[in-house]
C-alpha cells in the first residue's frame, strides 16, 4: 500500500433497488492519474457505482472519499468529479462554446479566461474553430469530443465515463479509444471508465475491475485479468474461453495432471492451488493458445486433446475452429490463416496441443 491519497476511495458501499442488490459491499482505491475500467455485463453494478461516485445515487452503506474527503450526501454539483454520459447529453439549445463553458460560467470565471480555456480544450479534442456550431450539426464522434471537453475543462479530480463510445459505430469507436487514451496521457487526469466491452477495457485501461452481481471479481492489469483470471466468470467474460471439468490424476513438481483417456491429457501449473489427486477442477485455455493439427500429433510435455472439427468460421486474418473434444466439451481454436490451417476441413480428426503454462485452473471442487 502506498501512502499517497487515492483520487477516489470507495469503501464498502452497498446499494439495493427494491429486492435487487446492485452494489454489494464494494471497496476499491482509484489512484491519482490512472485509467481504470469497471468492466462487466449489464446489471453488474458498474453504472450504479459510478452514479454513486458522481452523486446521482446515495449508497445504502459505505463511504466515498474524494481525495480524502467523504462526499456521501454531498450533491453532485458540489463534487469535484465530472461525468461523460452515454448519449453525450450536450445541451441542445446551446452552441459548442456555451456547452463547454457551462461549468466555468457557474464558477464565475471571467469571460476572456473562459474563451481561452474553451479554445484550449477544443485544441486538445482537435475540434478547433467549432465554437459556434450547435450539437445537432455535429457527428456522433464530434459530439463525444465536445462532451469530453465540457467535462475536462473543469479540471475534475476524476473523469467518470459511462459507456461513452456505446453509441458510435465500430470504426469510430476504435478511433475514439485511441483518442481517449491520448487525451488521458496528455492531461494526466484520473479516468474511471465503465463498459461492458472487454476489448475496449483491455486496450485502454491501466487497471480493470471486472464486476459481477455487485462485487469486483478481479482487479488487475489488463494482462493479468486476461491471462490469469481470478474466477471462472472473469475468464469467461474477458474473451472467449474453453473450459472443461476434469479430475486431477496426480500432482507432481508444481504441475497437475488430468488424464482424459489413454492418449489425451491436460496439464496445468498447480502452485498455490489446493489440488491433489482426485480433486475435481475447472481447467481453461484461451482459443489463441491452442495449436491445431490434422491427425494424431505428439504434444511433447504439454496438454493434448483429440477431437473432430464440427465447424470452421473464417474471420479474415483468423480461422476459428469449433472442435468437439474428448472432454465432451466443444473447444474454440483460433489460428492465423495459413496453408496448414487451410488444409483442415469440417469433419476431420484433429489434435489440439498447448503448453503447460497456458492452462489455468479456475476452480477447485464442484
Amino acid at each position: 500500500m502506498s501512502d499517497v491519497t487515492p483520487a477516489i476511495s470507495i469503501r464498502g458501499i452497498s446499494k439495493r433497488f427494491g429486492d435487487v442488490v446492485a452494489v454489494d459491499d464494494l471497496t476499491i482505491d482509484i489512484r491519482e492519474g490512472e485509467f481504470i475500467t469497471l468492466l462487466g455485463p449489464s446489471g453488474c453494478g458498474k453504472t450504479t457505482t459510478m452514479r454513486i461516485v458522481a452523486g446521482f445515487e446515495d449508497p445504502d452503506a459505505g463511504q466515498i472519499l474524494l481525495r480524502g474527503d467523504d462526499v456521501v450526501g454531498v450533491p453532485p454539483n458540489k463534487r469535484h468529479v465530472n461525468m461523460c454520459f452515454q448519449h453525450y447529453a450536450l445541451f441542445p439549445h446551446m452552441d459548442v462554446q456555451q456547452n463547454i463553458e457551462y461549468g466555468l460560467k457557474l464558477k464565475k470565471v471571467p469571460k476572456d479566461e473562459r474563451q481561452r480555456q474553451v479554445a484550449d480544450m477544443l485544441g486538445i479534442v482537435r475540434l478547433e474553430g467549432y465554437e459556434h456550431r450547435r450539437p445537432g450539426q455535429l457527428s456522433g464522434g464530434q459530439q463525444q469530443r465536445i462532451a469530453l471537453a465540457r467535462a475536462l475543462v473543469n479540471e475534475p479530480a476524476a473523469l467518470l465515463l459511462d459507456e461513452p463510445l456505446g453509441a458510435l459505430d465500430v470504426k469510430l469507436r476504435k478511433q475514439m479509444q485511441l483518442e481517449l487514451k491520448r487525451i488521458q496521457n496528455e492531461l494526466k487526469t484520473t479516468f474511471v471508465y465503465v463498459t461492458h466491452d472487454q476489448e475496449e477495457a483491455l486496450s485502454m485501461s491501466d487497471r480493470i475491475a471486472v464486476m459481477n452481481l455487485g462485487v469486483i471479481e478481479h482487479l488487475g492489469s489488463p494482462r493479468d485479468v486476461y491471462e490469469r483470471p481470478a474466477t471462472p466468470f472473469v475468464a469467461d467474460f474477458v474473451g472467449v474461453l474453453n473450459a472443461a471439468d476434469l479430475i486431477v490424476s496426480s500432482v507432481e513438481s508444481g504441475r497437475a495432471l488430468m488424464t482424459v483417456n489413454e492418449r489425451d491429457r491436460v496439464i496445468a501449473p498447480s502452485e498455490g492451488l489446493d489440488v491433489a489427486a482426485g480433486s475435481s477442477v475447472l481447467a481453461a485455455v484461451r482459443p489463441e493458445r491452442i495449436d491445431i493439427a490434422k491427425g494424431a500429433v505428439d504434444a511433447g510435455e504439454g496438454s493434448r486433446l483429440s477431437g473432430t472439427v464440427a465447424q470452421i468460421v473464417y474471420l479474415g486474418t483468423l480461422m476459428q475452429f469449433h472442435v468437439d473434444t474428448s472432454t465432451d466439451r466443444r473447444f474454440i481454436v483460433h489460428q492465423l490463416s495459413s496453408d496448414a490451417s487451410d488444409a483442415i476441413d469440417e469433419g476431420d480428426e484433429v489434435t489440439l496441443t498447448w503448453p503447460v503454462e497456458d492452462t489455468s485452473i479456475l476452480r477447485v471442487g464442484a
Binding site: 453532485p76 454539483n77 461525468m83 439549445h93 459530439q143
Partner: protein, 285 residues
C-alpha cells in the same frame, strides 16, 4: 394510396369526409353569414348586407365589459394553470415516489368530473368558507378544469427531454434551481406556451362553472347565454361571436405555427446527427 381500397370505395370515403367537414363547419359558416344579414330575425331570407350589428356591439358597454371580464379570467387561469402544471409534470415524469399512480389520477380526475357537479361543489365550498363570488372565484374553478390539460400538454414534452441533460448540468456544478432555469425551462418552453394557450381557451369559453361561481360581473359566454331570451339582441351577439371566433382562430394558428417552428428547431438540434438522418432518408427510398 392504399391499393386495398377500390375506386368506388375511395370515392365514398372522400364523400364521407366532406360530409363530416360540412357537419362540423356549416353552423359556423351560417353564423358568419347571418352576422352580416340586415334583419332583426336570425333566419332566411337574406335581406341585404350590413355591418350594423358590429357597430351596435362596439357601442354596447355590457358586451365589451363581459369580453374584458372573460379576457381577465382567462389570463389568470392561463398563468396559474401553467405555473401549477410545471412542478406537477416534473414530479410525474422525473420523480419516483410512493403513490405516483394515485397522485396522477387525482391531478387528472377533473377531466371526467361533470362540470355541473364541479360548479355546484365550488359554489358550496366558496359559501362555506365565506369567499365572495367574483371573477377570481371563477378563475379558481377554471384552473381546476384547465390543469389536467396543461399537465397533459407538458408531460410528453418533458418525457422527450433526456434526464441526462439535467444530470449533466448538476454534474457541471449547477444547483437544482439553476438547472431548471438554464436547461429544463428553455427546453420546455414550447409546451409551456401551448399549455397556457389551451388553458386560456378553456377558460374563455367556459359557461357551466362560470354560471355558478361568477357573481355580479359576467363573462362573455354567460352574457351570450343570458341574451338568448331576447331575440332583438341576437344579431349583435352573433357579430361578437364572429369576432371572438376570428380572434381565437388567429391565436391558435399563430401558436401552432410558433410551436411547430420551435419544435423543428429543437428537433434538428437534439435528435439525430446529420449522418444518422442521411442514412434514415436513404433507407426510406
Amino acid at each position: 394510396m392504399n391499393p386495398a381500397i377500390s375506386k368506388g370505395g375511395r370515392r365514398s370515403l372522400w364523400g364521407f369526409f366532406w360530409l363530416l367537414v360540412l357537419f362540423l363547419y356549416a353552423p359556423i359558416v351560417i353564423l358568419i353569414i347571418f352576422s352580416f344579414n340586415d334583419s332583426e330575425l336570425v333566419s332566411f331570407p337574406w335581406l341585404g348586407f350590413t355591418t350594423r350589428w358590429y357597430h351596435e356591439f362596439l357601442a354596447n358597454g355590457t358586451i365589451l365589459a363581459a369580453l374584458r371580464t372573460s379576457l381577465f379570467v382567462a389570463s389568470i387561469t392561463a398563468v396559474i394553470a401553467t405555473a401549477l402544471a410545471i412542478p406537477a409534470s416534473i414530479a410525474l415524469v422525473r420523480r419516483r415516489f410512493f403513490g405516483k399512480g394515485l397522485v396522477s389520477g387525482l391531478l387528472l380526475a377533473p377531466l371526467v368530473i361533470p362540470l355541473v357537479v364541479m360548479g355546484i361543489s365550488l359554489l358550496i365550498l366558496f359559501n362555506a368558507i365565506g369567499i365572495p363570488l367574483s371573477p377570481y372565484t371563477a378563475a379558481i374553478g377554471h384552473v381546476v378544469i384547465a390543469l389536467p390539460f396543461a399537465i397533459l400538454t407538458m408531460v410528453p414534452r418533458l418525457e422527450r427531454i433526456p434526464a441526462a441533460l439535467e444530470e449533466a448540468s448538476r454534474d457541471l456544478g449547477a444547483s437544482a434551481m439553476t438547472t431548471f432555469r438554464l436547461i429544463t425551462f428553455p427546453l420546455l418552453s414550447p409546451a409551456l406556451i401551448s399549455a397556457a394557450l389551451i388553458s386560456f381557451t378553456i377558460s374563455f369559453d367556459e359557461l357551466v362553472i362560470s354560471s355558478f361561481v361568477l357573481g355580479e360581473e359576467v363573462t362573455f359566454p354567460v352574457y351570450l347565454y343570458s341574451q338568448l331570451r331576447l331575440p332583438e339582441r341576437l344579431p349583435s351577439v352573433i357579430a361578437v361571436a364572429v369576432v371572438v371566433l376570428v380572434m381565437s382562430v388567429i391565436v391558435v394558428v399563430a401558436s401552432e405555427v410558433g410551436r411547430f417552428v420551435s419544435e423543428r428547431r429543437l428537433e434538428s438540434r437534439t435528435g439525430m446527427s446529420a449522418d444518422e438522418l442521411g442514412s434514415l432518408s436513404a433507407g426510406k427510398g
